[in-house]
Amino acid sequence: MSDILVLSGSPSTKSRTEAVLGELSQRLREHGHRVVEAPIRRLPANALVAADSADGEVRALIEAVSHAEGILVASPIYKASYTGLLKSFLDLLPQHGLTGKTVLPLATGGTPAHVLAIDYAFRPMLHSLGAEHVVPGYFLLDRLIEVSEDGVRIDAEAEQALMSVVDYFASALHRRARYAEAS
């Protein structure tokens, strides 16, 4: 069992990214992991843009990152990349703040033309933070997500592909834990 922190970089209160993350967190729990969801938009905006890591809530989330073994980094795609909100928080992490961690990048966006943002934008940034293992990510098209009062529904084919990525992340964390125990 590993601790997973789910970071969401969506500024929207009616975020589809976050709705999907609820489902994915559940899936990760079924794999036996402890999961905490952390939407970055709930942090005090002033502290975030002023890069004030002394703020209590900001500090608590930085602490949570340092204690987690797995980090799911999710963001909607704005201007062909992750959001400024997500980056504002990641800028506050210490240099190599993801050292030793397993990371799953996820993006939601309106056009398949931005699929590569996962590999050209998310991945180099995560590696630069020292992430040990950035597992294959997934780009989910907005229109395949349907949020209603009953919950969230994802197009069956996309959901299958997304879940296989999530399952791989979960098993990578189990493998990492077993390796840590054995060594």
Binding site: P11, L85, K87, D91
Partner: protein, 205 residues
């Protein structure tokens, strides 16, 4: 000849900030290069740090309010934009990206843009090309080929000796001034200037 208006956006956090210093050098080079082409110019510099709170509000509410709307109009309505960000984790800062996030989709269409970035080590120079440039390509801005990265050592003269910082700045300023000069036809744009008057239309029928 009308005066060319240059908007400068600096995402530096410190005071003084090397990001602002680079922004000032780039705008000075541009003004000098425009003067060499017999064009007068004015420069207005915006520190994102000063409008950071408004940017976050715009991000959360989905639209820019009050003073920010005017500021954005001044930035996107200029004849050229110089955008400079510090590099964190081999990419633009969160504040810089938040600013780009609230720009309207078509607001920089065809606008000449000069990119700059500052960082501790020249090892991150390429972040300008693989991270910052794609943002402005997405916005259909006219980004000049030379972008300028300034590492800490560049300021003390201990940086790149083959192609030192002042030379890079001058080259970028020259390319940028060319783009601004060539954009004469696009300036000023009044969508109603060619609309015939009623009198004209009555006469023509």
């Amino acid at each position: 000849m009308t005066e060319r208006r240059i908007a400068v956006v600096s995402a530096g956090l410190g005071r003084p900030s090397s990001t602002r210093l680079l922004a000032d050098r780039l705008s000075a080079a541009t003004t000098a290069e425009l003067a060499a082409r017999e064009l007068s110019s004015s420069v207005e510099t915006f520190e994102l740090r000063d409008i950071a709170h408004d940017i976050v509000n715009a991000m959360l509410t989905g639209f820019p309010a009050g003073q920010l709307r005017e500021t954005l109009a001044e930035i996107t309505g200029a004849d050229g934009l110089i955008a400079v960000s510090p590099l964190f984790t081999t990419s633009y800062s969160g504040l810089f990206k938040s600013f780009v996030d609230i720009l309207e989709q078509d607001s920089l269409n065809g606008v000449p843009v000069l990119l700059g970035a500052t960082g501790g080590t020249p090892r991150h120079s390429l972040a300008l090309e693989y991270a910052m440039r794609p943002l402005f390509t997405y916005l259909h801005a006219d980004v000049v080929p030379t972008s300028v990265f300034a590492a800490t050592d560049d300021w003390s003269g201990n940086g790149d000796q083959v192609n030192p910082l002042p030379k890079r700045i001058q080259r970028a300023g020259g390319e940028f001034a060319d783009r601004i000069t060539q954009r004469v036809g696009a300036h000023p744009t009044d969508p109603f200037q060619d609309v015939p008057s009623f009198e004209q239309m009555l006469r023509d029928t």
